[in-house]
Amino acid sequence: MNNFEYKQATDTKDAIDLLSHSPEAAFVAGGTNIIDLWKYNLTNPSSLIDINHLHENAEISMLENGKTRLGAAVKNADTAYHPLIGQKYPLLSKAILAGASAQIRNMASNGGNLLQRTRCYYFYDPDVPCNKRNPGSGCPAKAGYNRIHAILGTSEACIAVFPSDMCIALAALEATVNISGPNGERNIPFSQFHRLPGDRPDLDNTLEPGEIITSIDLPEEGFADNYSYLKLRDRHSYAFALVSVATALKLNGNIIESARIALGGVAHKPWRNVEAEEFLKNKEANAENFSAAADIILRDAKGFGYNDFKIALSRKAIIRNGLMALNPTSQLPGAQPSA
């Protein structure tokens, strides 16, 4: 970790200005990811711009159009436990609370969560090749220990997974990311925020250099009646998902009016498949149909050896979580499989 300058931004504009004056600078919010990356010598900013004090981004509020706005500086824990989120968007609460540990969630911000980097072992070790860290150097994960790696949307260059839980729910809820930058404000639909690795695995998302996330908007529809988040991992808490599923259903009796299924732990971005969701429309909500939807979602899934199991596991997880969504109280703490 190099010596660096520390600056505190007073508002969003100040933050953007500070960053634009120092291209080697980085924002810090909760610091739960960037400080680690720094200590591992994966990044070495010349200055650190603290964006924890941007009051305009520090709230959760209901907007006039029925949407809900999550400030980027709000902590993950405060978001999960916020009454509005608990009531209207319980899927988001569950997903956040399935992530990390209580201590980390207390520090982690909503903006930072979207920008956390992969947990690929090879990415984390500066002494081995990695196309994400060092473009062109190679990807030892493909023929290496790839238990935690992707089965969907991979490329020759990279099979890393985007590790967030929160973002899987945000993808299912079709959130929008609000951004400010030197060229003004813009917003990005969630499905277009994170990207697939392709031949640019160094880019995790479509945020441009110099931009800051100010907030995340949730649409009015929160799927509060039929939803479930299921997270499968090597221990019951404090581990990243090997496979996670966020399911949100709009039901008429037992007939699905609309369905959202987002997968975590399987791709370089939260994974959704519109075809599968369309398929479920007007179908009965049962294991058979969830299974058929899983077939569609996993049609192009490909394992790399140690992660082959993720294909079968994803299928079973999609089915179980569909059934859990019919009875959301069957969800257990830590998003474990229902009893």
């Binding site: 947990r119 220990y145 090597d234 596991l313 499989p337 229902s338």
Partner: protein
């Protein structure tokens, strides 16, 4: 001594809370990296990024140019040292050529320490470490056990062989017996690498006192071991090297040998004539010892009644290219079960890794997993309850040595644990029990572990205030040693615990081995008993010299030591206090130093071991394979339990470890890179609270009149030994799937 009257004041057998608990939970207890020392320099270690080869050149110019960087040490500019292997040998060194940091340009394993940056602050040292460039020439390496099983060979013998003997010679004719048997099982088990990962990082703070004198705060399980190591290597007088480790944040075996930060810290301190601290980071905690990966092959056969007739256990485990680390694996089954035809073989596979090392229940926890799972398979072959199979093969003897055990309450462990667990509710068929979405499985297994005792020397004294001070070099690695020793001493002298001051964790104090092998209560505890006996004698003798002493004619057994006094048994109102005795002694302390040691001659006729039985319930999700250990009961027979609270904590801790070993823990080697990949506690999984549910501990009554003065064995490791097999067996019972490896990942149960 007559005890009847003292008994109510006795502390032995009572659940006394850890005496240092408050210091620890309030952050007051200081660990090796926390000593405030003036003018301290900070060292940061640089590790090799290649697995095998040579360092061609080192460029330190950029690092040295940074403000506050004092020195970069490496094999190029290290101080001249004694380079005889013998001088590097520590008390736990296996046979071979001990690893010598900064010896030369050769790289023997990935992560080998190759340079030490010393700077005015830690952050600068750490940064400067990234600014050094190494040019290497790389050589092909072998780090994969499976790919190298063909190069296995028997271990060299050395000092360590005494405590870790090779398997006994064959008996009968195994191959013939096995061939002719009708009921037999053949299994192959694989275990991954594990790293100890105590929460306290390895750290050393060396205070340079001048004149070849050093005071060293070190993270270690053995103060004297490290004192000798430092003095031998750096050519210092023993008395000038003092190693202190009053608090140790866990060890689990990793502190049995001096680790490289000690060497580097001392070298820097001597070279720069300054106080130096070196702390490893978590990643570096994966750059030295570990539990070796193993492949075990077993073939067991029984007669139609379930009596074992033939047992064959072959183990191959990893060692380094320079030392032969050997932990007994293949020989355990015959210490439990009789069989007339046995064949035990154990070999090592040298690889380009650091030397493995003892890790909680070394060998035993590895072996018993394979043995007790194989027994479970036999039980199914025989259509017999697994517990019944154990009882059919039960013996009070040690069949491998053909000697009786000094005590063996394993049968009581089986029965008490089975009852508490509710084993009779088990329906034997796999997949026959369920609960909602979960398959339910019950599994059981046996544990056995050594009962060691090492020589230990205790200085004990009564001071002018009538209180007792004891001195011994032993460490307390979180086991409760401090508390237990205080209890033993208090009872021996009839003092309240508050009046006993047990001082430890300091190489200046009389000899103790490192804390390990579950042997401290028997080792230093017995030494306290011996010293206390002598101290009582001396006190009584002095009391007799007092004017008009009512004790003049009494024998040792006619008095009771109680509440800081000596009282006449015949008339307990006649007393003399320790204070009065010392006052009569002109205020001079009365003291004694004594050695406690095993009674080898007497013990030759016996075998010694602790035993346990673990019963486990698991739930396995029918669709998703996720495993939860919902209940576990472990009954332990380990002689007298001095402190049921600290002892129970040891068993709880090892049961959690058993869950960890069965379901979570593994260091992943990328064989192409020759290095471990999951080197942090986020990815090296150990259980968290959500993984641990109901645990119960039973101590079976075991009166051991033979083993030592206290009748104690040890409880540090035994609780781990049976758990992994009990969990594996429960998973089989739940799912009908046998997983022949550890850890078991849930996706293997899909």
């Amino acid at each position: 001594m007559k005890h009847t009257e003292m008994d109510t004041n006795k502390t032995v057998g009572k659940p006394i809370s850890r005496l240092e608990g408050k210091l620890k939970v309030t952050g007051t207890a200081k660990y090796a990296a926390e000593y405030d020392v003036d003018n301290l320099l900070y060292g940061y270690v640089v590790n090799s990024t290649i697995t095998k080869g040579k360092i061609l050149s080192i460029d330190v110019s950029k690092a040295m140019a940074l403000p506050g960087v004092t020195e970069v040490l490496s094999h190029k500019n290290r101080t001249k040292l004694a380079w005889f292997d013998l001088q590097y040998t520590d008390m736990d060194a296996p046979p071979g050529t001990v690893f010598k940091p900064f010896y030369d340009e050769n790289i023997l394993y990935n992560g080998q320490p190759i340079a030490l940056v010393v700077a005015e602050n830690f952050e600068m040292a750490r940064y400067a470490a990234t600014q050094i460039t190494f040019e290497y020439s790389e050589e092909p390496f072998q780090t994969c056990l499976d790919n190298n099983l063909h190069s296995s060979r028997v271990a060299k013998k050395g000092f360590a062989t005494a405590l870790k003997p090779p398997p006994p010679p064959p008996t009968g004719d195994f191959e013939k017996a096995y061939q002719n048997a009708t009921i037999k099982v053949e299994t192959e088990y694989r275990h991954g690498t594990e790293h100890h990962n105590p929460i306290e990082l390895f750290a050393t703070t060396t205070v340079y006192e001048g004149d070849g004198k050093l005071t060293i705060y070190d993270k270690t399980q053995g103060t004297i071991n490290n004192q000798l190591y430092v003095a031998n290597i750096f050519g210092l007088k023993y008395k000038n090297v003092r190693v202190l480790a009053p608090f140790v944040g866990g060890g689990f075996g990793s502190g049995l040998r001096p680790q490289y930060q000690l060497f580097l810290c001392v070298m820097a301190a001597l070279h720069l004539k300054r106080n130096v601290r070196v702390v490893l980071d978590r990643k570096q905690m994966f750059s030295f010892s570990h539990r070796p990966p193993t492949v075990q092959n077993l073939r067991f056969a029984t007669d139609t009644d379930g009596k074992l007739t033939a047992m064959n256990h072959l183990s191959k485990s990893e060692t380094s290219s320079f030392e032969d680390y050997f932990e007994p694996i293949a020989s355990w089954s015959h210490r439990l079960y009789p069989a007339s035809n046995t064949l035990f073989e154990q070999e090592l596979v040298p690889l380009d890794v650091y030397t493995p090392m003892d890790m909680r229940a070394p060998g035993g926890s590895t072996a018993l997993h394979a043995i007790e799972c194989t027994m479970d398979e036999l039980a199914y072959k025989l259509d017999m309850d697994p517990l019944e199979l154990r009882l059919i093969n039960y013996t009070e003897m040690d069949p491998s040595a053909e000697k009786p055990y000094t005590s063996k309450a394993l049968k009581a462990c089986y029965l008490e644990a089975a009852e508490k667990f509710g084993w009779e509710k088990r329906t034997p068929k796999p997949r026959s029990m369920e609960r909602g979405n979960k398959l339910v499985g019950y599994g059981m297994a046996t544990g056995i572990w050594d009962a060691f005792q090492f020589p230990s020397r205790v200085e004990a004294m009564i001071t002018a205030d009538g209180k007792m001070i004891l001195n011994n070099a032993v460490t307390d690695i979180g086991t409760g040693t401090f508390t237990v020793m205080t209890q033993i001493a208090a009872d021996e002298l009839g003092l309240p615990m508050d009046d006993v001051d047990f001082r430890y964790g300091d190489s200046k104090k009389p000899f103790s081995m490192f804390q390990g092998g579950s042997a401290m209560t028997s080792s230093t505890g017995v030494a306290i008993v011996v010293a206390a006996k002598e101290l009582r004698k001396k006190l009584l003798k002095k009391a007799k010299e007092m004017t008009d002493s009512p004790f003049k004619k009494v024998e040792d057994n006619e008095v009771t030591f109680k509440n800081g006094t000596i009282a006449l048994n015949q008339n307990p109102n006649v007393t003399v206090s320790f204070k009065e005795i010392i006052a009569f002694n002109k205020g001079k302390t009365i003291k004694t130093t004594n050695m406690g040691k095993p009674h080898l001659l007497k013990l030759k006729k016996y075998s010694m071991a602790t035993h346990s039985a673990s019963f486990v319930e698991v739930e396995v999700d029918k669709d998703l394979g996720t495993v939860t250990v919902t209940r576990a009961v472990t009954a332990v027979a380990a002689g007298k339990i001095i402190n049921p609270k600290t002892a129970k904590s040891q068993i709880y801790g090892s049961m959690v470890w058993g869950i960890s070993k069965a379901l979570h823990e593994e260091t992943i080697m990328d064989e192409k890179l020759g290095k471990y990949m999951n080197t942090n506690l986020g990815e090296y999984h150990i259980p968290v609270h959500a993984d641990i549910q109901q645990l119960d501990v039973i101590f079976a009554e075991e009166n051991d009149e033979v083993i030592n003065e206290l009748g104690v064995k040890g409880v540090g490791e035994i609780g781990l030994v049976g758990m992994p097999a009990a969990i594996s067996n429960a998973i089989y019972h739940a799912t009908g799937k046998r997983i022949y490896k550890l850890p078991i990942h849930f996706d293997e149960l899909l």
